[in-house]
Amino acid sequence: MKRKSIALCMAVCLCAGIFTGCGKDGESQETAQKMQNEQDKQEKEQPSVVSTVFNGELEHDVTIQVLENDTAVSKGYFAELIEAFNEEYAQYGIKAVDANMDQYLDLANDGPYGYGPDVLYQANDIIMQYAEGKHIYPLPAEKMECFEQIPEAAWAAYRIDLEGTAYTCGVPVNVQAPMLYYRKDLLPQDWENVWDENGNKIPDMAENWNAMYAYSVSRHAENSSQYGYMKSLFDVYFSSGFLFTYGGYIFGNNNTEPADIGFSAGEAEKGAWVLSQLASTMNEECIDDSITTNAYSKLADGTYFATITTPDMYSTFLEEMILAYEEEGLSKEEARAKAEENLVMTTLPALPESGDLTEEGASFLAAKSMGGINGYAVSAYTKHPNACLAFVEFATSYEMMVRRSELLGVAPARNDAADAVGGTSQLLYNNLEAGNIVLMPSIKEVSQIWTPGETFFIDLAKDAFRPEEEKKYTDLDAMKKGLEGVDQQIYDAIFTLK
């Protein structure tokens, strides 16, 4: 009834707008100008739909269904969160419960029929696809307590322009981006003298890819069954960062313009060259997903020195290393302590400006990587939007963000929480703020980048193992052409049938 009344009011306003043309010319222009100014002012202040829906009047005695991330549920964080929220809001009779649904929900089809959660936690690209169809509500982000603490780059991932008005449809919670994992105990004995050029007590391999390349070559030369850096190169999520560092991008206009595809933009071919040089220090397993699946055990048994993957995999690496140490005869406690000491997770090393991993005295660029922001959104089909907003406010508070990071090992999107947690969370936050994390586009066309990208990276990795006369990517021009092919395929996939 309330919504109908709002719709009726808006319809009346619309009709009133039409009748403004009935007055005298000068008067109508003046009135129109006045109305336009008023409208602009209102839009600047707060888009009307936001203030109408989120009017600050908490709905009493209601239950809201929250869809959380599986890991948050299994590791007990979600139980803690809803317990704390329910205690805080018991005075209003508001209760949050687990929506107990599959994470791959279909809000667009289920929502209108009353199914689906009231609050959902998803990656930015998923949430924003719902935003395009108005299946989630725009939020009064600027009025939220966390607004100032979350960097603009993270908010931008949840912003959408609909009918000329900008809306923010989600609240960033944590940042996800590739991290370098390596084993401190596999460093050369004399690393502090030979592999720490700047003497900052951080091995050069963790600071720049040239050192990582050199160490990978020497490690494999010493023992042909051992390798330095190992990674399945086909994975666009991890490999595309090398292109972005040299000027490549996914879509133009801040990842909103699907017709402008930029995997080959700038000097992205240098990134491809870096990957190709790295592939030459690995074995054929870098062509397919073999390393992705065996990296945990091979890092643990010392076959690999380093790899990259997402921060949430830290516990898996740790468990594997504990098992490996236990097999060496250590007790569980000793094994854990040793694993925690030796497993290092840090941000990606810098890349040489020239793209040449063998260059001596090279100058370096901060490495960029593809990343994502997971966050909360409120379903547009909820009956209790203000209670939902209260939940989102609560879940994104400093205390809950810190707790989330402690329990799940994720990097908070809040500055103060990242500061409090420190370590890699802070490094990730700094990278996000510095623009080194290229967020996954929030438009649906992003689904078309994977297969062309994967094919190119497979081909590039395979090229390192082809006989000389059969090699396809012999110079930067060939790599540029290959990347242009990727751009064309993505374009074809998006627009051929549009």
Binding site: K2, D288, A380
Partner: protein, 439 residues
């Protein structure tokens, strides 16, 4: 047709006013002739259908044509039309309407039939007798009514829905709450007009046909061979040996496929053995492995499908008339001759429809190459790889992009190709031409 029409005219002229009343009020004639139960049943059916049409049927048929006029806006609380649901409910309303017309015709026929019985001085069956017939003479109606209804709702409705989607603009940006529209044959024109599709289409079609024929033949003969082998008296522990292929069959296909993908990967056990011997790893399924990957696909498909053929053949082989083999042996026929002249004709006769379904299944085998070698676009192919079948390409082009309308159009084209091939094979098969041979 002409004869039917003249019989109809004759019946109209010959029918009494009571029969004509049935034309206006279903069951009216039967009621006046004393078949009260039947009359009331027809009347109630008419009431139910009219009520359905009044309450939503007419609106659904209207929606079938418009596919919605009010776009929903969840932010403003505007409940809009869902074009997809409207199309679905529209088709359902047409099915109900068709059912009503059929019942209406039955009602008229029955009223006229009752008139004739009474004119001949006989007594029409009572309602109880009619019901009793449904358990006796007309038992086929009783057992068929539910399956027919099920087929209408679960088969006809989705198939018609899918066909009609090909004539709309559903997909891409046009998904609810956006309103879908009818676009006629525009999707088919788009398919024809896109010149870059033609070379890839024919390359994939050629490989698809080769794949379907080779896979079907291999699966069939390996399955039959295995069944014959395990049927031999000299084989000890038949149940034990049969259990292995059955186990392979029982494991879900996609798990088997992922396991094979791992086995043939660079880090898999096969390459581990190869590299342990000092050799270079082989990219069994990688970018350059066109024919090797195709061959592996065929073999993996055998692994998955042969057990089902083996089980089927085992059942059919137990129905063979062994006296024919006895006679053949006396006449001096060897084992190959017996297989050629007795086993094969019998098996082909009994299993041609299964062979056809195997062929169609293989032609549209989405899973094999999606799981074994998905995620590749190969040079010379438009958004496809050299192992992709038409169904995989269809997925890349349409479903991956949410272009459901184009997906439906390509599905119709695939359907036409496979149904044409199936029809030709079936008409030429012994199952159709020598229907009475083994009866």
């Amino acid at each position: 047709m002409k004869e039917k029409w003249s019989r109809f005219i004759l019946a109209v002229r010959d029918s009494s006013w009571k029969v004509k009343l049935s034309a206006a009020v279903m069951g009216g004639g039967q009621f006046l002739y004393g078949s009260y139960g039947k009359g009331i049943s027809y009347f109630l059916l008419e009431i139910v259908i009219i009520a359905y049409m009044a309450l939503r049927g007419v609106k659904d048929i209207q929606g079938f044509f418009t596919l919605g006029t009010q776009k929903g806006d969840a932010w403003l609380g505007t409940v809009g039309d869902n074009s997809v649901i409207m199309l679905l409910m529209g088709i359902f309303a047409w099915i109900v309407l068709a059912a009503f017309l059929y019942l209406y015709q039955l009602n008229l026929k029955d009223a006229y039939h009752t008139q004739k019985i009474i004119e001949n001085g006989k007594r029409p069956l009572s309602f109880r007798e009619e019901l009793a017939q449904l358990l006796d003479k007309k038992f086929y109606i009783t057992v068929l009514i539910l399956p027919v209804l099920g087929v209408c709702v679960f088969n006809v409705l989705p198939i018609v829905f899918m066909i009609l989607i090909a004539f709309t603009n559903y997909g891409g940006d046009i998904v609810p709450p956006e309103l879908v529209d009818w676009v006629g044959v525009a999707n088919f024109e788009k398919l024809i007009a896109l010149s870059q599709f033609a070379p890839t289409f024919f390359k994939i079609l050629g490989w698809n046909l080769l794949w379907a024929v080779v896979s079907t033949v291999l699966n069939y003969f390996l399955g039959l061979g295995l069944a014959l082998l395990l049927d031999k008296e000299c084989v000890k522990g038949k149940a034990f040996w049969r259990a292995f292929p059955v186990l392979a069959y029982a494991i879900p296909g996609f798990i088997t496929l992922l396991a094979f993908k791992f086995m043939f990967s660079y880090g898999g056990p096969i390459n581990q053995i190869i590299t342990a011997g000092g050799n270079t790893a082989i990219g069994f399924l990688d970018l350059d492995a066109k024919w090797m990957a195709r061959g592996i696909g065929v073999l993996v498909n055998c692994w998955i499908s042969v057990p089902s053929i083996m089980l089927l053949a085992t059942g059919h082989l137990s129905n063979r008339d062994m006296s024919l083999y006895e006679a053949a042996r006396i006449d001096g026929a060897g084992r190959w001759k017996q297989f050629q002249k007795l086993t094969m004709p019998f098996m082909l006769f009994a299993t041609t429809p299964v062979l056809l379904s195997q062929f169609i299944g293989n032609f549209n085998n989405f899973g094999i190459f999606y799981f074994l070698r998905g995620g590749l676009y190969v040079d010379g192919y438009f958004l496809a790889s050299d192992t992709d079948l038409l169904i995989n390409w269809l997925y890349n082009l349409s479903i991956d992009n949410n272009y459901y309308c184009i997906g439906a159009a390509i599905s119709l084209v695939i359907f036409m190709i496979t149904s044409l091939i199936s029809l030709i094979i079936y008409v030429k098969s012994p199952s159709y031409r020598e229907e009475d041979t083994f009866q």
